[in-house]
């Protein structure tokens, strides 16, 4: 259980997040969605401890503020939006850094992680020569290595992903979302900041919809991804349709034609 | 290098030659004036190496150079196998001197000074170190006489003003202030230092040069690396407007002769005096 309550984040005088409460359960994929500037990434950064915040943040009941970076690193791994590398590390070396910082990663684990993200055979390539999407998947492999087992000693491990599919093509988007889904299905916890509402609808168990530094609503995709909430959050009309084959998954289409018409 | 090693080994093995060599001093001479005095005492054949500033007489330049007098390397000095080091005050670094003293090499320091007495003292100290006290006394007396005679002739009731230019770098003039050897030689030659307001060698502004209005510009021959031509002086915004430049009173004298305060300083006084008051 990842829990944040009465969370406040300020940049100087401006409150980015104000008295927010958020929670995510192990065994679930929790998505954070919302328009640009709504505070999605800020929320993720606050709960990873990357930026200063006030309020309570706990991981399975333990206050993360009093935990050391190395303790936290064994319980949760964080995938940043993008990573630039200072030196010519190979893909293999990058993936192993993830665990070597705390212990040591066997080469075979690194190879398994790479093949899981579709980068088998890329071990010897220099990270900086990879495409943006390949770099993002290489980072995912590194993050997976850090908390490879979804649960350990009956405690869940956590993946915190900041826009994990933003640089990927549709095939790899689905593949990466399946990896996250599997992790949750095996007892781990996943929190992902998402832009793509359709992928969110397809893969998430819980959706936190943000606007203006607050969570408008957090519930199942069926209850959150509705015309009313989404229009309120994004400020533009959206059309939600539900395909006949699977009544649970909403399809969200922006009604482009109406955008130019005065209301 | 190889042959030297061999010769040391051979000398040590034979023994008798080693004793014969011991009688002869092997001198490293540090400082232009020190070298000059050793030559003047007729003991130049004892010098086995000299420092970078030892450029007079010309034969001295043929000797091995152990580097700049304030940045000596201990092994460099040891490599010429000296028995005696005669060094001007301020030679170093101290670490090197310590090692040399530890190697049981006699080390004699020669003080600097800008008066006839100081020059005489230099000569006497070097003479003593060379076991040539009598010759040194004669030389010292002669040099003192030269200097005093030259200074007396040179003395002037209304001294003209002299600007000593150490170098001109990018139109910036480095001039001599008080407590410099240039200041001393100017006074002895019956002149007055145009830049009496500061100590040491300092960059001076063009306005200060114009204000000082020197009657003579004094420089070292090939001083400061770049020779400065008369045309450059006349074209210079500061130097060009001085009475010295207008009248073409620009003198260039060898640096060691002019500023060394050694056996030839009497000549230096005369040369500067001639440049100031001749015609």
């Amino acid at each position: 259980m990842f829990n944040a309550s009465h969370l406040n984040v300020r940049y100087g005088q401006r409150a980015i997040i104000h008295d927010l409460s958020f929670s995510a359960k192990a065994g679930e994929l929790t998505a954070i969605v919302g328009p640009n500037g709504s505070g999605k990434s800020t929320l993720l950064k606050a709960i990873t401890g990357e930026i200063a915040s006030s309020g309570d943040i706990s991981l399975d009941g333990a206050n993360i503020r009093s935990a050391s970076p190395s303790e936290l690193a064994t319980r949760r791994a964080v995938l940043p939006q993008s990573t630039t590398i200072a030196f010519p590390f190979t893909v293999m070396e990058i993936v192993r850094i993830g665990v070597e910082a705390g212990g040591s990663a066997s080469p075979s684990l690194a190879l398994r992680a790479l093949s899981r993200v579709g980068l088998a055979g890329y071990e010897g390539r220099t990270y900086n020569e990879l495409s943006g999407g390949e770099q993002q998947r290489c980072q995912l492999a590194r993050v997976l290595c850090q908390v490879w087992e979804p649960t350990r000693d009956d405690h869940p491990n956590w993946l915190l992903l900041d826009e994990p599919v933003s640089a990927l093509d549709i095939g790899h988007q689905l593949e990466v979302m399946r990896i996250a889904r599997d992790y949750a299905d095996n007892g781990g916890g996943v929190i992902a900041v998402m832009h793509d509402l359709n992928l969110t609808a397809m893969f998430a168990d819980s959706v936190a919809l943000m606007r203006g530094g607050e969570i408008l609503r957090q519930d199942t995709p069926q209850k959150v991804l509705t015309n009313a909430y989404l229009s309120e959050a994004y400020g533009c009309p959206l059309q939600i349709s539900t395909p006949p084959a699977d009544g649970n998954i909403p399809y969200i289409l922006p009604q482009a034609a109406q955008i130019h018409q005065p209301r | 290098m190889f042959t030297r090693i061999f010769s040391i080994v051979a000398a040590a093995a034979i023994g008798s030659t080693a004793i014969a060599q011991e009688a002869e001093q092997r001198i490293v001479s540090i400082g232009g004036t020190v070298t000059e005095i050793i030559y003047a005492l007729g003991k130049s054949d004892l010098i086995v190496a000299r420092d970078t500033t030892s450029t007079y007489p010309a034969e001295a330049s043929q000797l091995p150079d152990v580097g700049y007098m304030r940045a000596l390397s201990p092994e460099g000095v040891l490599s010429v196998d000296p028995t005696l080091i005669i060094a001007e005050e301020g030679s170093g670094p101290i670490e090197t001197i310590d090692v040399l003293k530890e190697a049981s090499i006699e080390y004699v320091t020669v003080p600097t000074g800008y008066t006839a007495d100081a020059v005489a003292e230099k000569i006497m100290i070097i003479g003593e170190a060379l076991d040539e006290s009598e010759a040194a006394a004669t030389l010292a007396a002669q040099v003192t006489d030269d200097m005093q005679a030259a200074a007396q002739t040179a003395a002037h009731a209304d001294p003209k003003s002299v600007l000593f230019v150490l170098s001109v770098q990018g139109d910036r003039v480095m001039a001599a202030g008080q407590q410099t050897s240039a200041d001393a030689i100017i006074s002895l030659a019956g002149g007055q230092n145009a830049m009496g307001a500061f100590y040491g060698y300092k960059p001076v502004s063009n306005e200060a040069i114009i204000e000082a209005a020197p009657d003579l510009i004094l420089m070292m021959q090939s001083g400061g690396g770049h020779p400065i031509t008369d045309e450059q002086i006349i074209a210079h915004p500061g130097l060009g407007t001085t009475p010295a430049a207008r009248d073409g009173n620009i003198a260039r004298i060898d640096g060691l002769l002019l500023l060394g305060f050694g056996p030839r300083t009497g000549d230096a006084i005369q040369s500067v005096n001639t440049a100031l008051y001749a015609e």
Binding site: T90, I97 | D65
Partner: protein, 358 residues
Amino acid sequence: MAEISQNIPKAHFAGDRQQRGRYVTIALSIALVFTAINSLGVGATGLPIWEILARFLNGIGLTHTESIVLFDIRMPRMVMGVLVGSALSVSGTIMQGLFRNPLADPGLIGVGSGAALGAIIAIVLGSYLPAQLAATFGPSLVPFAAFVGAWATTLLLYRVSTRGGRTSVAVMLLAGIAVGALSGAVSGILIYIADDSELRDLTFWGMGSLAGATWTKVWVAAPMILIALLSAPALARALNAMALGETSAMHMGINVQRMKRFAILAVAGATGAAVAISGGIGFVGIVVPHLLRISIGPDHRYLLPASALLGAIILLIADMVARVAVAPSDLPIGIITAILGGPFFLYILLRNRGMLEA
């Protein structure tokens, strides 16, 4: 380096250069021992190493002068070369890792400008010290002042750039520029009042040299440098993680702030001590890590020890040239590292452009 890298056997897994790192480290260790022994036989007086060995084997021994040359000149000089070379290279490697920039050097944390200011103060104002105090310090005054200057500047920069328990690398860089300008100005004032011979001393100090090596200097500098060298491996994993950025390093379990403080203090100690006893020796700290990254990759677990070894080797070789190039005079070693290192570095850069472009 290029030759070495091609003869290294393939690793068990593609992209894993650990085995290569081990081989290169072993090769460099052997090379360092060889270079160090050889350097005992190089100098203006001749006396090559085989001659020394032959003398001892035949029980002849050395003459008084020869033993001074060997034990009081060449040996402290060799030890100082190893200490200074490894301190400068390891410090360069740590700084580049910490600032995530292959051009970073200890100058960024104010060591250079601080040490220079300290040295200038000692050289120019040393003569104004009360005689008793001057006698106590003796020849250690300039090294001592340089070391204090380096530390004081680094601590000032660290304090300025640390707020709320976080050190901002960007603030440190900018503050370093400001402090550098300030100490440059103070140095300028002192240079203005310096006399001719003091100016020459300053110039020679700036070019660096091992010619003034003494056992005293070695004993004083060795602890600072050894502490940094021995603790450097503890930074390796953290520096690797830092290559992915400060926040990623933190998420991977690195206590980034503690690691930064540790790295900055270690570098200030080692470089401060090295610069204090040898003056300014440039270039080694930037070139050595580059050469090694091309050969064994950027993994700091191998890069740090290999840097120490290669830095020591390069400085010993440069110093051997310094001793004999213009014998019986001695060239400042900074000139040699630049003359030999500059073109070689350019050649390596041109040959390995692809490896370096990030």
